[in-house]
Subunit: 584 residues, 2 copies
């Protein structure tokens, strides 16, 4: 097949679109692959759709090879199943909701666990029917607060989502592994670097989940990994808990007037000067910082909680979101403080007056490092006064543990595999062992070998099709434009004829016949009145992996051959062209 | 490729689903092709998706062969473009509307004229860029009042919609013809009988439109055709207008006391008895029936109008909808009559007191047959009194003509090609010459040869993908199940192994190897503990065109071969199987 640029619905742009923040967005719009229609919602132009179909085909092939069966569920879904699993509420503002003409509630599917569970319930009833894994390639909708980064985070986007159904936990483990393996093959075929990290199952529920992250600076996820093989999204990182220390024999707390210690550092220096301890000096890690957070629960009630963490740590709000889900969390504001008059002495908050059982009734949670027997420098709940040697389990207690501290390079991997490094990545796949949460909510049971009803256990496996396209664009470009891997390129070869001499066009036509004979998919820049400069710039921008230019040496039967990805360009006699193209 | 029934996500049903009214709906659900998810919204199971993809591929191939380029626009669209063309309002309750988290209005696309026009405006600016025809295969949404008939009229459904853009009317005519020809090829490849009928452009606007109707009893459209080649949807039928008659010399109207004439027939008999006219006797076609209708305009105002039509005709409400669009029309109710006290004497309404210029101010419209000089028997606006010989243009006038009378077999074709026959059909394709309505509303202009801005003219071309699948099921079945044409069948060959004898299964496996070697797509019923009766019934229900049964004669190397569509079944030695399969 040959596509003529003079006919192709395409308009390349010199300048970056004003609303584009990331490279892939800029290039995909400039090169005429997509156009923005409204915030986070895009139209697919012919070039973009070609790349997209290739990505979908690779995913589809590997899914089928892994034994998954393709189905297609609607995007417009009734409220009731999502009500049963509570996600109608839990999704909050992130879900598009609407009513039909009769006033019935509907939603635009953000993901399809409920409907797949109901479909299997509808058709299957026996353990003999299981396991089964179903998938679809389908549009999804999420009403992002800040749709940005082009296709990397859209409001209408395309996913391959798969769901496995098993009778036993071991079966789920197997089905999960099969999908995980398929994902590795898919990303390998796409030439897409990935790291598999432990992930927080989050709003999806379930017992185990892993993310496939593509390491990339514009990534929205931070992950950590050790040389010894541990890898996790920071939201899933679990702080190693130190051993408890003996309380007996520890000195009593000492009151520390501390009016002039505006920072942790000055407080630590002051404590070491005025109230030093035996053994080691106080460090920032020995101060107990008490951060006031405000939670908004699903029922709309607002709760103030305090989290105590070592003074050398900060609260990571994304980790806090996971810790307190499904409640929403933010720093407490003036109104929150006002609702608890007299409790909080700003800058001098200490745990002594906190706790669900205390007079204040305010829940007090601590970082996992705050174990029994640890001694702390912290506030005395009095302006200008701290206290040193306040011992956990003796002088104060906590209502629980909260994993809200930030995770840093150098922190230990929880499995003892060494210090962590941190990196940023973008989620390109996610595999979940959902377990029985959805099946229980929707009453998905089958008869087991003994004729008894048993609840099915589910897995859920997602790949962002349109996001992958953007990440491939992000990973494969240079300052001149896109440079697609051949597996997903919109065409195999881009033939350009330049100049006013008919011989170049005639040569191009001959070459295209040859290339078509070898089943190459060719785009031909046959535009008659476009300058060579524009044609060559467009060839660079469009990013087809092989470019053949029939220009000034056409009369001698010589063309210029570009390897768009390596950047190599050389003159090739026509007789050797096919071989040279094959080599790229 | 072989698909094993023991693995396939499929459950066939013995009984028709309770909510299914039409055959295709019953069979597609029973045979496990689709499942209903909510009213008018379906999930596609593996078999259904296979057929659907085959239909899509045929459509896509023919679109590309006709020079159309594939793109993909979003389903979730902003309000503004639809506001510009007034369709945000005109679509009424039929459109799904929603708001995002910021309160901006969106819709789920019922069709995409606006967005395609804006896309071309966005990318193109010169006459040199035209013509261009774009298409997509995409989900559409319409909030039907009574979703029913399964996939024949859904609320979420899939269409191929194409749009052409030209500078000139002649260009549009050419682009239209190219698409029309492509549609003929598509329906020919799908083996789908069709009639091309003149259609009402309706809410789409535009100058010319034709429908591809598949003649079928459950069809929602009534069309008429003549032996001489005229064909039109009844909504597009234009009544031939008789010549006006001379008024001079016609007798004056005669008052006709008519208290005891409850029907047209009794009135006619009474008139001929009491007030006969010279020449021909009065007939039902000479009575003028005045029907009171109520229009609801887009701005919500309600208007009462009266339509005068020959007494042997009825008002066809679908034709009335077209005549009065975009207003909605229904029979006037008591409330409407109350708003015009003293005007309407039920059973005796006559045109003498009607008309926009009359005291009542009520618009009076007439059937096209009510031309100047025609004389009528009609009401005298007084209980128990009619009048005969009331002459149009002398004794009463009208504010205009309304095409609301029903069209009947035997009526003349407007082009003089003979009497009409009527039939029912289902719309499978629709081609429109939209003209400049959308381009004007959205300011889609390009520079013409002289550098002046010229408004583009558009065409719009739709095929219902999912509806076609249902119609194919409707057209190809028998009392045992589906019987797909081979072009769209989910598999080429259905191999069944029956009995407890391993030899049948071994033979089946060998046959499948042979069939796969010839690139046939095979489904294999390998289910070990399912009875032969169930397997054979499922083979009939699923409707794969060729069925091969390895059963009792397997040991002799003989299988039973079914041609599912002709119903022929015969024993075939294995050695001759391939040839016999090819012959079907």
């Amino acid at each position: 097949m040959v596509t003529r640029l003079s006919h192709l619905f395409l308009r390349t742009l010199r300048d970056d679109p004003s609303d584009a923040e990331v490279t892939s967005h800029k290039l995909l719009v400039r090169a005429g692959y997509v156009r923005r229609q409204s915030p986070g919602i895009f139209a697919w132009l012919p070039l973009g759709l070609r790349v997209r179909h290739k990505i979908e085909d690779i995913i589809r092939e590997e899914m089928v090879a892994a034994g998954a069966q393709e189905v297609l569920l609607p995007a417009l879904l009734p409220r009731e199943p999502y009500e049963a699993t509570n996600r109608w509420t839990e999704y909050g503002d992130g879900m598009f909701r609407l009513q039909d003409r009769k006033g019935s509630d509907y939603l635009l599917a953000p993901t399809h666990e409920e409907m797949f569970a109901l479909l299997v319930k509808d058709l299957y009833g026996s353990y003999k029917d299981l396991p089964v894994t179903l998938f679809q390639i389908q549009d999804k909708y999420r009403d992002e607060a800040r749709p940005r980064a082009g296709l990397l985070r859209g409001r209408e986007f395309t996913m391959k989502d798969a769901y496995s159904f098993d009778l036993t936990d071991e079966g789920l483990e197997r089905s999960y592994q099969v999908m995980r393996d398929a994902y590795e093959r898919i990303f390998a075929r796409l030439g897409l670097e990935y790291v598999i990290v432990k992930a927080d199952a989050g709003a999806m529920g379930g017992s185990k989940s892993e993310e496939f992250l593509h390491p990339i600076g514009v990534g929205e996820d931070t992950f950590v990994r050790s040389a010894g093989g541990y890898a996790a999204n920071v939201e899933a990182y679990v702080t190693p808990v130190p051993d408890a220390l003996p309380i007996d024999g520890q000195p009593e707390p000492v009151t520390l007037p501390s009016a002039d210690t505006p920072t942790i550092d000055t407080l630590v220096a002051h404590a070491n000067a005025v109230a030093p301890r035996d053994g080691a000096p106080w460090t920032a890690a020995d101060t107990l910082k008490n951060v006031v957070l405000a939670l908004t629960h699903l029922d709309g009630t607002r709760e103030v909680v305090v989290v105590g963490l070592p003074g050398d740590r900060e609260v990571d709000l994304k980790r806090a979101e996971v810790a307190f889900a499904p409640a929403e969390v933010e720093a407490a504001g003036d109104d929150d403080f006002k609702r608890h008059p007299g409790v909080f002495v700003k800058g001098y908050i200490g745990p002594q007056v906190l706790g669900a059982e205390s007079d204040s009734g305010i829940r007090y949670l601590v970082d996992p490092r705050v174990v029994e027997g640890t001694a702390w420098v912290t506030g005395a709940n009095e302006r200008g006064v701290h206290v040193t040697g306040l011992v956990m389990g003796r002088d104060f207690t906590a209502d629980g543990v909260a994993e809200v501290s930030d995770v840093r390079a150098g922190d230990p991997a929880p499995d003892g595999s060494g210090p962590l490094e941190t990196a940023r990545g973008m989620e390109i796949g996610h595999v979940f062992q959902l377990g029985r949460k959805y099946a229980e909510a929707l009453d998905l049971k089958v008869q087991d070998e003994n004729g008894k009803l048993a609840t099915v256990t589910m897995g859920s496996y997602g790949i962002g099709v349109t996001r992958i396209l953007a990440i491939l664009a992000e990973a494969h470009n240079d300052d001149k434009g896109l440079a697609w891997p051949k597996e997903v390129a919109p065409f195999d070869v881009h033939v350009v004829a330049t100049g006013k001499d008919q011989v170049a066009y005639d040569l191009a036509t001959t070459l295209i016949d040859t290339l078509e004979g070898e089943r190459y998919d060719v785009v031909y820049d046959d535009r008659p009145k476009v300058s060579p400069g524009v044609k060559l710039r467009d060839a660079e921008l469009l990013g087809v992996p092989v470019v053949v230019v029939a220009g000034r040496n056409a009369a001698d039967g010589v063309v210029e051959l570009w390897d768009r990805r390596s950047g190599e360009r050389r003159d090739v006699p026509v007789a050797e062209l096919l071989e040279a193209v094959r080599a790229i």
